[in-house]
Symmetry: C2
Subunit: 390 residues, 2 copies
């Protein structure tokens, strides 16, 4: 299917592309609008209508700038594509944890609208069993060595290595994964057409050939500090666990670790000499019980394999067991749609969740039996603890 | 007072010396006999009487061998002395935790009968604020460096460094303490007249001049494997906290750490490169939550300063808050005397605790009000949890 054809599907893809650029990601009001209206109506509304302030401001500078077709063409010419929630390849279950985190009050806990992707591999398959290996740009020889060792063993064990393509630990992780012929995913804080950092051009090309280069930012987007922080949330979201190999006292890796905790992913840290500043952040995380100390790939695999046992974290970043384990996807979505205060009708829940009303109606009785929701005069309410109104 | 005078005090000191040799320490039945009868009658009974099997066996080979006077003379000629529970210098409060550990079922949780000591310093004063620095004999350059750094800073902060005078981490700790002109205590697994390990003769002489060389074994005792394990319990008992700087996967330092936990002392471990076998035991302890990860002397001092907040541990080695905090010494001793099953009379409690009956009678009402003991038909019972019979 050529990108110049005018099928409805193409139109819808262009709307996704338009939306992925019109506001700086992550943009919760835009994400909500898309959830509510779908991409076509959402794009139409943003383009044409007088918007409420929450949406007018973040879209003001770009709403009349529609480069969707050119962006799609450019990425296609690079051998890439735009993966949207319409695609079978959309990693939907990985994005679910954003809803729980947002419901717990975590700021910017917004799933990406879509993912710009270079590489022929499937996003879902490649992130099916994935560990993020992250750390300081100022890695020591020890840190790079340990990264390579652990990555090699994890890749041999079938784990995909996710990282941020930065210098230091990130680069060592991608290189070791490639050397082990294991799949690897680089999540960028700029457009996938951009080569950042500049010294990693060849590495990014190799990753795109053997794995995936991923970004929520449209082509042409330049890297910026806030984009690195936003990118870190996707590194965490696309992985089963995050391993910090080396991190200084104040390191960006800690932001990835915080996102992992907020999304319910185990966080691990590798110790090193106490005399090396490059391990200070790792030791700090272990001391603060923000991370589990790990010393081998086997320990990492064991911990990462536990993701199913862990539920989304509270806003304090502590793991807590949630009563949602065992619910099917639809029930979870309905439950999530009840996150906001006040009662909701089945119609409203269908709008909020994007599910057909029939599915919402089917899920509610089961949720009620589980003690997770309750019908009140003003509509359906979510119960924070079984049997207790939130 | 010369050691050849025949005062009652000298007689009693010789009895202590006799008892310290007559059974292999730690010997719980002997310790109980001494607590019950005092050293003079206990020594008399062991020398002259038909003993019950629990005491006959451990004293069989040595009960007719009385080298007390010669041992005392030898140690005095070396500038040393025998410190006994009769002395003001006896570190009584440090030994208390053995009673709690024994009550919790910890094996060999027996205070030493007496301490053979080289050096002019006061045992009580030197162990008033003390940290044990221990670790593998096969220390790395990193381990010795970190030991020296931390020891220097702790000594400058007024902490006494306790260790076992072994090669590796122990030796590095003693040397660094001496270099910082800080007090240091070496606890030996042999007689204080023995130079073990042989390469540490000069070091032991320096420690005796500047600090203390301590052993529960009489002069002439040779080092043996079981004595190292018994010695480790004294290293823990004489310290506020134990720091394991480097330890292999199976290291004697872990036995010291286990003793520290059983005696309610914080245990810390220093991380190192995961590529070094000499840190594997430390990482293991942190992973198993047997030790807190520490990276500086300041962190060690902070953790060691918390000893007052921690109560003796359960036999599982986990810290738990005990309801005894705030009790005076007499009340604790009466409470400890109730450790065994079955009811006890005030008379029996006096015998078990070594306290006058009047003091026992004074303490019981308070313990009862606190919900820690209860009067039943067959006597006083200890309650494991407030209000619940053990």
């Amino acid at each position: 299917m050529s990108s110049t054809s005018t099928t409805a599907q193409d139109k819808r893809l262009r709307d996704w592309a338009y939306l992925s650029k019109v506001a700086e990601a992550p943009c919760a009001p835009l994400a909500e609008l898309v959830t509510e209206l779908g991409p076509e109506d959402a794009a139409h509304v943003v383009r044409e209508r007088a918007l409420p302030p929450a949406l007018a401001k973040p879209t003001a500078s770009r709403r009349h700038l529609d480069t969707a077709e050119a962006d799609l063409d450019l990425v296609q010419s690079l051998g890439g594509r735009l993966v949207t929630p319409d695609d079978d390849d959309w990693p939907a279950w990985r994005m679910l944890s954003f809803q729980s985190a947002a419901a717990s009050g975590v700021r910017d806990a917004v799933a990406p609208l879509a993912l710009w992707v270079l590489g022929g591999a499937s996003v879902q398959e490649l992130t099916h069993r994935a560990v993020a290996m992250v750390g300081t740009r100022a890695a020591s020889g020890y840190g790079e060595h340990v990264t390579a060792e652990f990555t090699h063993d994890l890749a041999a064990d079938g784990w995909t290595i996710v990282s941020g393509a930065a210098y230091g630990i990130d680069g060592a992780a991608h290189r070791a994964a490639l050397a082990a012929r294991g799949p690897t995913v680089a999540v960028l804080a700029c457009g996938v057409d951009r080569c950042y950092p500049s010294g990693h051009g060849a590495l990014l090309s190799q990753i795109a050939r053997a794995g995936l280069v991923v970004s929520e930012y449209p082509p042409g987007t330049t890297p910026a500090k806030h984009r690195f922080l936003a990118r870190n949330r996707l590194v965490a979201a696309l992985s089963d666990a995050v391993v910090v190999v080396e991190a200084g006292w104040r390191s960006g890796a800690r932001s990835t670790a915080t996102w992992a905790r907020n999304l319910g992913r185990p966080v691990m840290a590798v110790p090193g000499p106490v005399t090396a500043l490059s391990s200070a952040g790792c030791h700090r995380m272990v001391r603060n019980q923000e991370a589990t100390l790990v010393t081998s790939a086997a320990e990492i695999a064991e911990e990462a394999g536990r993701i199913g046992e862990l539920a989304p974290a509270s806003p304090m970043g502590l793991f807590e067991l949630q009563p949602l384990d065992g619910l099917d996807l639809v029930s979870r979505q309905v439950h999530e749609a009840l996150a906001s205060a006040g009662g909701a009708s089945e119609r409203e829940l269908a709008e909020r969740s994007g599910l057909p009303v029939t599915q919402v109606r089917g899920a509610l009785p089961m949720l009620e039996m589980e003690g997770l929701v309750r019908w009140e005069e003003d509509g359906w309410h979510r119960l924070r603890h079984r049997g207790r109104l939130r």
